[in-house]
């Protein structure tokens, strides 16, 4: 990916040692690559057409959270107030006090010029009762609902993500512009063959490949 790679083992360690470190690949650090013909603005327009209900569907590590981070400023630009709930580690229930805290925020300052959007990252982790509560809450407060999920979940699909090899190659090339790497297209292809659409796992594997090559000089 870069012919200018040099062995920096004698230099002090820094984040510039590996382009696949968290700081370079976390959601928001790497720009989301939209499929041809799709833009953030078009997705927000589609979300509005779907009565502000939409699901971003894709397997682990396919870029759902990255897309959410990309959509948030666009939603704000069209007058939406975004309220985010991030569910992690198999969290099957909504956060304690969810209805009260969010209800007071949404209801307390509701006005005609704003649309409230509840964004749930990791919706598939919620149990059915929590999902019913959440959807009821949104209907009651006329709030939109934008979620990420691993599979269709009863909310109109906004986009389905399944990163192909050429997209991963583009992302790796973009990372290599920031930090040089001995990683080649064959490493990327091998990692993609192993991990499929899970770009997060691909980056983890390439991180290890990069460190291995770096150690061997």
């Amino acid at each position: 990916m870069s012919g200018a790679f040099v062995n920096l083992l004698d230099a002090p360690p820094s984040r510039f040692d590996n382009p696949f470190a968290t700081c370079w690949v976390r959601p928001g650090a790497l720009a989301f690559r939209f499929p041809p013909g799709t833009t953030a603005e078009k997705l927000v327009a589609t979300l509005a057409e779907q009565n502000w209900r939409g699901a971003i569907v894709g397997p682990h590590g396919s870029g759902k959270s990255t897309l959410l981070e990309t959509l948030k400023p666009v939603l704000s630009a069209v007058g939406c107030r975004v309220h985010t709930i991030v569910l992690r580690d198999g969290q099957r229930r909504l956060p304690p006090g969810f209805a009260g805290d969010l209800g007071s925020k949404v209801i307390g300052v509701r006005d005609a010029s704003h649309k409230d959007i509840i964004v749930v990252d990791g919706y598939e982790q919620l149990g059915w009762l929590s999902r019913v509560r959440l959807r009821h809450f949104c209907r009651r407060h006329a709030a939109g609902l934008l979620v990420t999920a691993h599979a269709p979940c009863g909310i109109p699909m906004l986009i389905q993500l399944s990163p192909a090899l050429d997209l991963v190659e583009q992302l790796v090339a973009e990372l290599a512009l920031k930090v040089s790497t001995p990683i080649t297209k064959s490493h990327v292809a091998a990692s993609h063959a192993c991990h499929g659409s899970n770009v997060r796992e691909i980056f983890f594997a390439l991180y290890d490949d990069h460190e291995g090559l770096r150690c061997r000089g």
């Binding site: 083992l9 002090p12 360690p13 040692d17 470190a21 968290t22 700081c23 983890f204």
Partner: protein, 146 residues
Amino acid sequence: MTLPVIRITLDPPSSQYQPGDRLSGRLTAEGAQPAKVRAVELSVLWYTAGKGDEDMAVHHFERLVDEPGRPLDLRVSHRFSTVLPASPLSYDGLIVKVCWCVRARLFLPYGLESMAEAPFRLGQVTAATEVSATDIADTDGEGRNE
């Protein structure tokens, strides 16, 4: 607008320090006059970089502000100095790295920012190396022979 080029120069002997050593240097910004600098923040800090969650802490911090009567002119070098702590020591691991640096952030008009870093090493922890299964087997064999 052309962003100023920040230069962080660490005083000799090198970018290798031991706990308790004094780290000193100077900060300048070339071309700082056309793009007037509103403030500059200088930090001596450590952070982790790697595959997992990240951590960081600031050891030394100073903020210089452009004020009436006290204009901030970074064409003239600004000196900084601090005594380095006992830990964490720099570590070049395979999964995680502990990195020390001097970081300068320039705050410019219209919300523009410019940043530069000067990495250095604290302590002398040996870098991690990959160990193959063969190496482990060889080591086990040596142990048994003893």
